[in-house]
Symmetry: C2
Subunit: 334 residues, 2 copies
């Protein structure tokens, strides 16, 4: 088990960079003594954020990168041209083995393209999936795939099921994780062409615990640990999860402020409510791993705050300690 | 404008039949003096529910049907064999012109199959969509299609956009309704093969107000009135909408009961909260119309209570008064 884990962090990516990114990195360093963080970005700006903070200086390394990749830039072009960007430099450190993992809150497209092009796929992985952890009533599930490559084929979905199972087992710590495929009904004859073709293959896949179809209604209840779907559907699920959650909270706040009586009640209810709602907040889970690469790449929300960055770093530590990359190779290709 | 609107209701369909179905029908009769309801089902059971209730006896007609179609039955077979079922009899009344519309809380599959086979499509309609109304922050949107026929083609989606626009304009009363297609990003180059092929066709469709792509995150905010998608995706959206909503409410209740202080607050907050949450309840909107048929067929939730049935009846009244079937023919095929 490696005792010094190196995580490169894109200090310039996301809406709250570099302030929250640096803050999150330091939280991780202070919480976990096995990790060294490499803060990649404009050194002067990062140093400013570090001033006056207390942390182990031996485990925070600054890597200068002068360019920044914008979320609006076409990903392929950006990766090719901006060699001195925090994203390209950080990913290259994983490729070269200087770091075990890379985290970015920047452009999803650039992270996906850069992860595949610069870090590279594990041999035999057809399509590396982006797999966010989503909160449920009972804990957390992995939603796999939510990446940019839509219109997947059955053989991709089989690998998603396998990769998701390994991740949930070794990183999240769920024994024999339950795998389900997103479908428009629970009966076996339901489904679109892709699901109908994939279902029997999942059923016959020996190294996963396949429990059948899951209707979208049952995802928040947490009845499966690994939710397999094609990326277009995954994207709809992920975004709607966040959208309905945000709207519900807005509506509830409106209700609580609608009468004088309710306002008083709201004050009393607030602390307890905040605590339970926090458990249902996607930001608590530290971003989405891009799986099947020669190293771990994690994409956090663009709006990630320090807590999400810290959790992403801890996720990278767990991933590396458990040697998940090696386990993927063994389980899928030997 | 027709001054007597006849609505057939499947009194035996759904979890709460016949009690809530009959109750809802009477609520509608008492609220709207233009409507006559035909309660189709086992007469003795319906009569029992009518006993002691006050309503205009001239506008409540009982139609005896001895058979009941179960939700577990294969739809095509059930429709073919159970000629004396409430579903087949009710749909036949629409086909024959005795009734303008039919409502059922029973088997979705049987309603979809029966609607197409017995009532029949308007000439030129390729695939009648099932289109539930979903609550948003600003009101209500139509989600089209959520039916049983997945893997639609672009020409289907164009008709969905047109049918949804007409429905929102004449039944819900939204002028020049905004149409958007569900996509995995807001940019025009995003999408799976179906969306990429459909997008330019929607853009060039002269009789709709197309505003582009919508990410699932923005659906609950109500930025579009007509949400166009293929039925597999529509099903995921609809079910997840309900699932996340239900889980959020469960979590909030748990939070409110977690401390003594919160419990007192909950009592004060409850009435106001109930009122605002009601506006976000899918049951308030009276079920999903199956559009493009020679008459209106409405599928309500299996768990529909009286209020949903009443709203479904009022929806049928509006649909018939506004002569929406005729408008569909004029707008799409002349």
């Amino acid at each position: 088990m490696p005792d010094n884990i190196c995580v490169a962090i894109d200090a310039m990516g996301g809406d709250n960079a570099p302030c929250e990114i640096v803050k999150g990195a330091l939280l991780a360093v202070n919480e976990c003594d096995k990790v060294t963080v490499y803060l990649v970005g404009v050194t002067e700006l990062i140093e400013k954020e570090l001033t006056g903070k207390s942390y182990d200086r031996n485990r925070v390394v600054l890597i200068d990168a002068k360019e920044i990749i914008d979320t609006a830039e076409p990903p392929v072009m950006a990766i090719r041209k901006k060699k001195d960007s925090s994203l390209v430099k950080g990913l290259t450190m994983v490729k070269e083995g200087t770091c075990d993992a890379f985290i970015s809150a920047g452009s999803t497209g650039a992270v996906l393209v850069g992860g595949q092009v610069l870090v590279g796929r594990i041999k035999g992985i057809k399509r590396p999936p982006l797999a966010p952890l989503i909160p449920t009533e009972t804990g957390v599930s992995i939603l796999i795939d939510c990446g940019a490559n839509v219109d997947a084929r059955p053989e991709h979905l089989i690998q998603f099921a396998q990769l998701g199972s390994i991740y949930m087992e070794y990183v999240v710590g769920i024994e024999n994780p339950k795998v389900a495929i997103v479908n428009n009904g629970a009966e076996e004859e339901k489904g679109n062409a892709l699901v109908k073709e994939t279902f029997p293959l999942l059923k016959n896949c020996p190294d996963i615990n396949f429990i059948g179809s899951i209707e979208a209604r049952d995802i928040p209840a947490g009845i499966a640990d690994v939710i397999v779907c094609e990326a277009f559907v995954g994207n709809v699920i992920l975004k709607l999860y966040e959208g309905v959650g945000a709207t519900m909270i807005k509506i509830i706040k409106k209700g609580m402020l609608s009468t004088a009586r309710a306002k008083i009640g709201a004050l009393l209810v607030k602390p307890a409510l905040k605590k339970t709602l926090k458990a249902f907040d996607t930001e608590e889970y530290g971003g989405a791993p891009l799986l099947g690469l020669n190293g771990l790449v994690v994409k956090t929300h663009g709006s990630a705050k320090a807590i999400e960055i810290k959790n992403a770093v801890l996720q990278c530590v767990q991933f590396t300690e458990q040697e998940v990359g090696k386990k993927i190779q063994e389980r899928l290709f030997s």
